[in-house]
């Protein structure tokens, strides 16, 4: 057996350093949050009509005040039908207000769709020209965002939400946000 030549260890050492970099870089990413340029940014500013009351103008301010879910949907999107039962359940059971963004769609069709499948949304932002969708970086409907009480985007999910995704990924984010807001409030009382 030949003796160990130390220079042959160099590749191994370089590799170990590389792995540490990759591992740390990787673990820094919060596993509950998908990378999105918008995470931790305020919800983009907009001015748009409400779906059932087109004379009413909605803005970013309407989303503030409470931790909420914003769901981007459309009548032409088959997976929106697929995820709809889960949205209905969330609106009834989870105590989180659900706002809709009706994306690249027609108002008449969207109203009919909600009559047919039942309406889980507090209100719906009409985004008929897709501008808000672009600002939100929407890749394809449906997409769901979690917004904190200050209107800052905390989480984004691409594709249909189901019970599993909600319980495993979204609920922890919501609970974390609730805990934080309780903490800040108590901190405020101490002062």
């Amino acid at each position: 057996m030949s003796s160990l030549n130390k220079s042959l260890l160099i590749p191994l050492i370089v590799f170990i350093l590389l792995v540490i970099t990759l591992g740390v870089g990787f673990s820094l990413k919060d596993p509950h949050i998908l990378p999105s340029e918008l995470i931790d940014r305020p919800f983009p500013d907009f001015q748009a009509a409400e779906l059932h009351d087109v004379d009413r103008t909605l803005t970013r301010e309407d989303l503030k005040g409470e931790i909420s879910l914003v769901n981007v949907w459309a009548t032409w999107c088959p997976n929106c039908v697929l995820e709809h039962p889960e949205l209905l359940r969330i609106s009834k059971e989870e105590g989180v207000p659900l706002y809709g963004v009706n994306y690249n769609d027609e108002v008449i069709k969207a109203q009919a769709w909600l009559r047919r499948y039942e309406d889980p949304f507090v209100f719906n932002i009409v985004d008929d020209n897709g501008k808000l969708g672009i600002d939100l970086g929407v890749y394809g409907a449906p997409e769901t965002f979690i917004i904190d009480a200050e209107g800052v985007i905390q989480y984004k999910h691409v594709g249909p939400v189901n019970r599993y995704i909600f319980d495993k990924e979204m609920k922890p984010v919501i609970e974390q946000l609730r805990a934080n807001s309780v903490a800040t409030r108590t901190a405020g009382l101490d002062l």
Binding site: N5, L12, F15, L18, T21, G25, A74, N104, V138, G159
Partner: protein
């Protein structure tokens, strides 16, 4: 039902590769030839079961089975049938199944075509490949099962395949790329197998050379196709972006190129033995690293796969296990290896050494540029930094220019020692190339650029020296044509590969320096001039495709008052996924491409229109194809077959003796 069959078949495939990793190993330890002999059948079984699984997924796509989640997310009933099939590898799960299929294919091929190997070596190599495959199959079964159902509620129709991927380029690009990536598992397995024997000779280099060259050829082809696809499909006329995922395929290519050369030196002269082993480990490790970067979401890129931290962690663990253990094995087993021969400066060995160093340095530059944003994010608490073309161009280009200059000399260098006059003779070629290029640039180019002159001179110089070398090989033979046929396939492979590089250099340089582009607002009837062509915009009409609606522009290309042709760039809207795609229309030709893409509508019938004039851009990919061909034809070198036949006879004889005594 079919989907479950696919899932079940994949589980059987897992059993096969577990057995393939264990049984031959036990055979080697116990010196039991029967156990070692099983490796071939296990390799075949592994391949068959993965293939069945793959066909089942294909059937689910073909039959629009949207209860399979992967199908629902990546297909649509309106999708044309060829894209339904290619959609199999349109997402993470299916593309990894393809990866595994390719892995099982290579494993099977090594088993079936390795008649020249000793039984012991074959068992070792296949056991390593089996062990590698366990990780791949487990990865699919645990984290990325494409056969998952969405029962009981499933969508009536699918989400559609990402329109970017609805294209011929996607049908062929990933399979070619994976053939290359995964193909590097073969030299890796040979290297590891040799290390485990504890006897690091150069035989493994001869065995693994054809496999390495084939894998490298596929990788070249895959990268070339990817570049071509990006050019016409992404709609902004670029052919290389230094994007993280492109880099992920480019790094194994650079190291693979070094390996291809280093293997030659190890095989022929018995030098660089432990270095070549290290390169084989690196090439495959970088392939795995590429898989990690693409599929873990650790770097953001245009090639977005669905991101899942669980998968990233899995691949990282796999990476650590495989690369860590192989480098440890290397550190302990590669010591004390002596070169079989000495060589002098200027010899072919030293040329190959320089080639290796420069290629590894360039791969390191790319690696650093790719990972630095990640390191930065780690150090500066999530702050993002983007490393773009300026970094790569400043560091990478000088290194490869140096490499290209050595390419002139290395083919005519000789083993052990090269007479200095051989090198001195090359100045004729340099001067000739320089003046030819000077005339060409002055006569044809719109403006003079010294860099273009310099780079193109080197490219031409490479071609001239290749030509001279080929001439010299036949010059003092009586039968000149016969002498041409007498040259080995390896030699012609080298000629083609180097010629391809020179052709690509010409293409890259001229495209970079003489491309012209304009982004203009046009209303119907408007004209714009670019590079001597007049582009007239005739307006936009509505079109309907099988699964999309399109605005189709109509642009006449006019030269000297005559309409040469009409281009029809499109802006497509895919309702199922609500994606908008830019389909550029391109008039390709050998010396220039005309490229028109439709931007955004600007109201009142006005559109943003992007027009490119791209001289010599085809040469980039044409060169890539030549390089790949070079890699492929060396596989057919008679030498490898002769070795095999000779060994075959020997082993037949041995079997006969064994049979007689039994």
């Amino acid at each position: 039902m079919i989907a479950e069959l696919g899932h079940f078949s994949l589980i059987l495939a897992l059993g096969m590769c577990v057995a393939l990793a264990i049984i031959p190993t036990v055979g080697i330890v116990q010196k039991n030839t029967q156990l070692m002999n099983v490796s071939n059948s296990l390799a075949a079984g592994f391949f068959v079961f993965v293939a069945i699984s793959f066909f089942c997924l294909g059937y689910a796509f073909w039959s629009d089975d949207f209860s399979v989640q992967y199908v629902a997310l990546n297909s649509n009933s309106a999708l044309p049938v060829q894209y339904k099939i290619s959609a199999i590898w349109g997402g993470h799960e299916g593309s990894f199944l393809l990866w595994t299929l390719v892995m099982s294919g290579w494993t099977f091929a090594v088993g079936a075509l390795s008649g020249g190997l000793t039984l012991d070596m074959r068992a070792r190599v296949l056991a390593v490949m089996g062990a590698l495959s366990i990780g791949f199959v487990l990865f699919i079964l645990l984290t990325s099962n494409p056969f998952d159902r969405t029962l009981p509620v499933y969508p009536a129709d699918g989400n559609d395949l990402n329109p970017l991927l609805q294209d011929f380029g996607l049908i062929v690009h990933p399979p070619m790329l994976y053939m290359g990536y995964v193909g590097f598992a073969v030299p890796f397995a040979f290297a590891i197998a040799t290390l485990t024997t504890g006897n690091l000779d150069s035989a493994w280099a001869r065995w693994s050379r054809p496999w390495t060259n084939a894998a490298w050829g596929f990788l070249t082809l895959g990268i070339t196709l990817g570049s071509w696809w990006a050019y016409y499909e992404l709609g902004w006329g670029g052919w290389w972006f230094w994007d993280a995922v492109e880099n992920a395929s480019f790094m194994p290519w650079l190291v693979g190129t070094a390996l291809v050369h280093s293997l030659a030196a190890t095989e022929k002269r018995g030098v660089f033995k432990s270095w070549t082993v290290l390169l084989a480990i690196f090439a495959f490790s970088l392939s795995l690293l590429g898989a990690f970067l693409v599929r873990s979401g650790v770097l953001t890129s245009v090639h977005a796969f669905a991101v899942d931290p669980e998968r990233g962690m899995y691949i990282l663990t796999y990476l650590v296990l495989i690369i860590g253990s192989s480098l440890t094995l290397y550190a302990f087993k590669a010591s004390g290896v002596k070169s079989d021969a000495d060589f002098e400066w200027g010899s072919r060995e030293s040329m190959l050494l320089v080639n290796n160093l420069l290629l590894v340095v360039s791969a390191a530059i790319v690696l650093l540029g790719t990972l630095y944003p990640l390191v930065y994010e780690t150090l500066y608490d999530g702050k993002k930094i983007s490393i773009g073309p300026p970094y790569f161009n400043t560091l990478f280009v000088p290194v490869v220019m140096l490499l290209f200059t050595f390419m002139v000399f290395s083919p005519l260098s000789r083993w052990k020692k090269t007479p200095v006059q051989e090198f001195k003779k090359q100045w004729v070629g340099l001067v000739a190339s320089f003046f030819v290029m000077l005339c060409l640039v002055l006569a044809l180019a719109k403006e003079f650029s010294f860099v273009v002159l310099l780079v193109n001179t080197v490219a031409l110089w490479i071609i001239v020296s290749l030509g001279k070398d080929l001439m010299a090989k036949v010059a003092n033979k009586a039968e000149k044509i016969a002498a041409l046929f007498k040259q080995t396939m390896s030699y012609y492979g080298m000629i083609l590969g180097h010629l391809g590089i020179a052709v690509s250099i010409l293409g890259v340089c001229i495209t970079v320096y003489y491309s012209e582009e304009r982004d203009v607002r046009m209303v119907p009837g408007d004209s714009v001039e670019l590079a001597g062509y007049e582009f007239r915009f005739n307006g936009v009409s509505k079109e309907t495709g099988p699964n999309y609606m399109a605005d189709r522009g109509d642009v006449d290309v006019i030269q000297e008052g005559k309409v040469l042709l009409t281009l029809y760039p499109e802006k497509r809207f895919y309702p199922a996924s609500s994606n908008v795609m830019t389909e550029a229309d391109i008039e390709p030709s050998l010396f220039r491409d005309l490229f028109v893409a439709l931007g955004e509508p600007l109201g009142n019938q006005a559109w943003a229109v992007r027009i490119h004039y791209k001289p010599f851009v085809r040469w980039i990919w044409f060169g890539g194809v030549l390089i790949a061909m070079g890699g492929f034809i060396t596989v057919f070198d008679r030498r490898y077959r002769r070795v095999k036949v000779a060994k075959q006879e020997k082993s037949n004889h041995a079997d006969g003796v064994a049979g007689a005594t039994a």
